[in-house]
């Protein structure tokens, strides 16, 4: 298996890279499937069934694109600024992290392809298991992408939860106290950070998580 720690950072992403049907464009050779017919036919077929299975998702996605690109919405990428206009994400305090985690853009500009969009919806759907949900929640909350929730991550997370308003924002001492409490309760191996397994342990104790970690289109 993979070594723990920083390798976590890209684990999900890599899984998708290997788990996704290879992207084929004209003249480009396929990774797994060398015969040309397969390359030509397969992506369209996969997309067709996906589109059938999720016409509303497709409709919502193509609405984010400019009119002239809607024809080939499956291969287009929607820039982050457009994604964030979705009412489901517009007010979400974790919107930037969500875009970052689910985007597979090579330029790291957080733009989303239709498949990224579907990944996101499926993780936030009812049928995703608690393991999947907690894994992605962990990645969303891991602001510096180093595979653990350290003090800085926790601070940012709590700030997202309480917002930047005058009255709700925590003072430095309150923040210190809270983070100390959190680590005391949940940092089982006492390394000063919360790793994925510890996070999943927290999730297993909060039955509301599955219903609240959900975005409905």
């Amino acid at each position: 298996g993979d070594p723990p720690g920083p390798a976590l950072r890209t684990a999900g992403r890599e899984l998708w890279e290997t788990g996704r049907p290879p992207r084929c464009s004209a003249g480009q050779s396929c990774l797994h499937c060398p015969c040309p017919e397969g390359c030509l036919l397969r992506p369209s077929r996969h997309r067709a069934s996906l589109v059938l299975a999720s016409s509303s998702a497709y409709k919502r996605f193509s609405e984010l694109l400019p009119k002239e690109e809607r024809e080939n919405a499956c291969s287009a990428r929607v820039p982050k600024s457009q994604i964030l206009t979705l009412p489901e994400l517009r007010a979400n305090p974790f919107q930037h992290r969500i875009c970052w985690v689910f985007s597979t853009s090579d330029d790291r500009d957080d733009s989303m392809s239709f498949e990224d969009f579907l990944d996101m919806l499926s993780v936030f759907s009812d049928s995703a298991t608690s393991d999947i949900k907690s894994y992605y929640a962990f990645r969303i909350f891991d602001f510096d992408d180093d595979g653990t929730l350290d003090r800085k991550d926790l601070e940012k997370l709590v700030n997202c939860l309480t917002g930047q308003g005058e009255e709700s924002r925590l003072s430095n001492t309150e923040m210190e106290q809270l983070i100390r409490n959190i680590l005391e309760e949940s940092d089982i191996d006492k390394d000063g950070t919360i790793n994925l397994a510890e996070f999943q342990h927290i999730v297993s104790r909060s039955p509301d998580f599955a219903s609240s970690f959900k975005i409905v289109l």
């Binding site: 509303s56 939860l161 709700s168 809270l178 970690f213």
Partner: protein
């Protein structure tokens, strides 16, 4: 929600195909044909389930509520929807197997219709399919020498099968919800870390997000500072206060029951003495249901005031105690009414006691529905007007989830009891629940603000389901059991006239069946299951186990350290985000 299951199946399928491929590099050629065949079967199923999800009742409304008020308020509406589906199902069964055949054999109705009848359920409605008394005891056959329709059996089996299905549904959903939400040990400790996963991603309305953040902030601050340490005298004082408020709340419940009992005795006199249809007696019939609804509406305020007075250590504790008191009140009122129906009305010399009981329940349901509407008008609309103009410090009202859910449980209990006496009652409840859904939705969106406390939604939902099962559904089953097995049906009306009990219809049918060899299996089922004590004993043991096993888990949860070690052991495993 819209795209979900379909998507996931598809994902998994793709993943499987890919992993298969990467293992067998030698079969590259066949992999291509595999890709081509792909998912055509699945595709059809996917698109079907997709449309099914689109058709989901009130999908959009529920989404808006979730976006503005979060999962806790949403759970009330989901519960309401769930009950509504129960009632639609029951209505369909009763209408198609009891009412439609009755239409074929209908007798003319010679009573005149008055407006007030809608409210009292008496008068014109007495001679309609709404009540038990109107149904015939004959076997209906339109074609001569053709097969006939036995009304008695249809009546008893429709109701019976509905209750069996309800029982199984409730039992399984309860057990599922129990094992999902209550098997987690250490629910009390670790509040700080639980914060990490409290964010409700359903909330998408900007204002609501701001409010939730504000509430979370204040909650964290309170949690950080609050250290409750009491001296001995303070503790004694607290215990005394708790005791006094328990005595007060139980006392009110007993007083309410006594009041209802005397009113109901009065009510019976009204029925037996005169059969005139004058306005006065009709209005007098409404005294009992109005008084019951008034008690149901106002005593809970007293209870929540008591709860404030007691100053519990945690808000959760307060909610649970208030709910317990309310459910004791409601169930004892229903209990005393059942006593009155089964022991006093059934023994009275009225012509058709089943119809009388049916009318009583009809009135209770209708008046309760109107009080529910009035409750949202006064409790939420006027409260908002007052809170925003006259007395600004009060602010906007919050939606009281506990009280509203208990009202639903009460209404559903009445409907279940009434099914036998008034087979179309689920239809009426169906209409009233849909209206309640819209009224509550509008009132919520117009008047209320998101709840300030973070509710433990999952646990609350489980306990509501449990309450619906334990005092409510099991109580109804025993009432129905007594009616079917022990009570003598009226002599002059209803499908069971002339029998010693409703159940006699079934035993007579079985006696006839014993002469036919082809239907031996029915007889076998009857002797070995329905009339055997052993079967019911085994059944109740299974039910108890279903309920108790999760609780046992909970009790064993004290060895949670083992759990934790187990988790730590998993730390070194790579994550498996997708299966």
């Amino acid at each position: 929600m819209l795209i979900t299951p379909a998507l996931f199946f598809h994902r998994n399928k793709v993943l499987k195909q890919i992993t298969k491929k990467s293992k067998h590099h030698s079969t590259q050629l066949s992999c291509c044909t595999e890709c081509l065949q792909g998912t055509s079967f699945r595709r059809f199923g996917n698109s079907l389930s997709e449309y099914f999800h689109l058709l989901q009742l009130w999908h959009k409304t529920l989404k808006i509520i979730g976006a503005k008020f979060g999962t806790s308020v949403l759970s009330y509406f989901l519960f309401l929807k769930w009950l509504l589906i129960f009632n639609i199902f029951s209505f369909l069964i009763n209408f198609s197997f009891i009412t439609i055949p009755q239409f074929v054999a209908a007798e003319p109705n010679n009573l005149s219709f008055m407006g007030l009848d809608l409210l009292t359920g008496a008068g014109y409605f007495q001679q309609t399919v709404l009540y038990y008394g109107f149904y015939t005891n004959a076997t209906i056959s339109k074609i001569e020498n053709g097969s006939s329709y036995n009304m008695q059996l249809a009546y008893i089996f429709s109701v019976g099968i509905y209750f069996v299905i309800c029982f199984l549904t409730l039992l399984f959903s309860m057990a599922k919800s129990f094992s999902r939400n209550f098997t987690n040990p250490h629910t009390r400790s670790g509040n700080a870390s639980k914060l990490l996963c409290t964010w409700d991603f359903n909330i998408t309305n900007e204002k609501a997000v701001k409010l939730t953040q504000k509430n979370l902030g204040t909650q964290i601050k309170v949690q950080n500072t609050r250290i409750l340490n009491f001296s001995l005298t303070e503790r004694v004082v607290r215990i005394v206060i708790h005791l006094v408020s328990w005595v007060a709340s139980l006392g009110t419940a007993v007083a309410a029951c006594a009041g209802v009992y005397f009113l109901s005795i009065n009510n019976l006199k009204l029925f037996v003495k005169e059969h005139k249809n004058d306005l006065e007696s009709q209005a007098a019939m409404l005294v009992l249901p109005v008084a019951t609804s008034l008690l149901n509406a106002f005593i809970p305020f007293f209870y929540s005031w008591l709860g404030h007075l007691e100053r519990f250590q945690t808000p959760g504790h307060q909610i649970y105690v208030t709910i317990t008191r309310n459910i004791i009140l409601k169930i004892s009122i229903v209990g005393i009414l059942c006593y009155y129906w089964l022991n006093i009305v059934a023994a009275s010399e009225s012509q058709c006691w089943e119809t009388l009981v049916g009318q009583d329940i009809y009135r209770l349901v209708v008046v309760d529905f109107m009080f529910c509407l009035l409750g949202s008008f006064f409790g939420e609309f006027l409260r908002r007007i007052i809170g925003t103009t006259v007395c600004v410090s009060l602010g906007l009202p919050e939606f009281d989830i506990g009280r509203n859910v208990l009202d639903l449980i009460y209404a559903q209990t009445l409907t279940w009891i009434g099914i036998l006496f008034s087979p179309l009652l689920p239809g009426i409840q169906m209409i009233s629940f849909s209206i309640v859904f819209y009224v509550k939705k509008v009132s919520l969106l117009m008047n209320c603000q998101p709840p300030r406390k973070v509710w433990r939604t999952a646990q609350m939902t489980t306990s509501f389901m449990f309450l619906l099962f334990f005092p409510s559904f099991l109580g109804v089953l025993s009432v129905i059991g007594v009616t079917v097995w022990r009570l003598k049906p009226s002599e002059e009306c209803g499908p069971f006239r002339g029998l010693s009990s409703m159940y006699a219809a079934v035993s007579e049918w079985i006696e006839i069946l014993e002469n036919y060899t082809a239907s031996k299996w029915v007889v076998w089922i009857y002797h070995n299951l329905i009339s055997s004590e052993l079967f019911f004993f085994v059944l109740s043991v299974v039910v108890l186990l279903q309920i108790l096993l999760p609780l046992a888990h909970l009790a064993l949860g004290t060895s949670a350290k083992g759990n934790m070690l187990h988790t730590v052991g998993r730390i070194n495993c790579p994550p498996r985000p997708l299966r």
